[in-house]
Symmetry: C2
Subunit: 215 residues, 2 copies
């Protein structure tokens, strides 16, 4: 059975692949599995039918037979556990790949997502500059550590994994900020990921949704 | 071989079980596995020996033979995968338990942790009240959804799981805020978890570290 995911009918990121359905699309493409997409308006996301699948009223969800999941990280892990291509066979390497999934979502994403919200919602408020500087300082500390860990390697731990997939989707949110300019190996890491055919297929698929809605 | 974790030599939470080593201690106790603890000063956390294990200079870490992990969520999942007691046998129920682990760390924890940081670091700043109100509004929305999902059930999805373990450690951070007063089923959920013998053993073990350091 083909799994069905949900995505924004009209993504706030204007088709730039920053919405969290991109993670699932990319994972499906990496493991060579088809998927179907059900698009939701912002109104539909808050209606009982969707809340029964996703109690927090967000996207994406994943439905496959009698299993429904939400949380993009959990869904990427579920896909990676069921199909080869996103987790190493070696048990220790597999544990470390999962560790990088959590690091992406729990150590890098919170301040990076906060920065996005701040620049969208609080521009012009009295505290804007000071809070932006504080967040940028936190983000730079994390990027400095990540850049030092990555060094000259292609990926975070051996072969490309679900950890890299999530990390790149988190770091891409900084692309318009200029912050990544200070970390050339991280910029190259993102570019290396974006050059993957699976990434490109996923990106085009989510962009087509926005283009159709805007057309 | 007994795994070794790291923890604060003197936890900023004064032994209240809010530091992230508590999650690992509790997981070990739930599955009945011994563990050893290596305590670190704030200075030691930033030294090369620790940064080689944890590139972001945080606690906890997990060392077992030639495997080193960081990220408390990843370590709890690793423990739960290797020993029975924290993940259901049924494949779909297992996927949902892991989904709740990600929900705890990625949907609930970010605004709750931001609130903690705000009340510690920014009390008295001009924007303090406005930002506290904004965070409380976000947190209440999430709690409302979580409370509605939990309903009258004991745990988030069937039997107690690693998802409940992480969720409770996240929610406990709100106990001094008064916010939980509006959600009696969530307060009861936390109390139910805290009453578990495994929780109590873990709590006493981390409290003993603080008591010894303060003595």
């Amino acid at each position: 059975m083909t799994a069905t995911i949900t995505a924004f009918e009209r993504s706030p990121d204007r088709g730039n692949g920053l919405a969290r359905d991109m993670r699932l699309r990319w994972a499906f493409e990496e493991v060579g599995q088809p998927y179907e997409v059900r698009l939701l308006s912002f109104e539909a996301m808050k209606e009982p039918a969707h809340l029964a699948l996703q109690p927090f009223g967000q996207i994406p969800t994943y439905e496959d037979g009698d299993l429904t999941l939400f949380e993009s990280g959990a869904i990427v892990l579920h896909i990676a556990e069921r199909h080869p291509g996103l987790l190493p066979d070696d048990a220790n390497a597999r544990a470390r790949a999962i560790m990088w999934m959590f690091a992406a979502l729990n150590t890098l994403e919170p301040p990076i997502f906060d920065r996005s919200l701040l620049t969208i919602l609080e521009r012009g408020r009295p505290w804007y500059e000071e809070r932006l500087n504080a967040l940028d300082e936190t983000i730079r500390k994390r990027l400095e550590s990540l850049s030092h860990h990555l060094g000259e390697a292609d990926w975070l731990d051996g072969a490309f994994s679900a950890g890299d997939l999530l990390m790149v989707t988190v770091l891409r949110r900084l692309q318009s900020s200029g912050i990544l300019n200070g970390y050339s190996n991280l910029a190259a890491y993102i570019a290396r990921a974006e050059a993957r055919p699976a990434y490109q297929r996923a990106f085009e698929a989510q962009r087509a949704v926005f283009t159709a809605a805007a057309g």
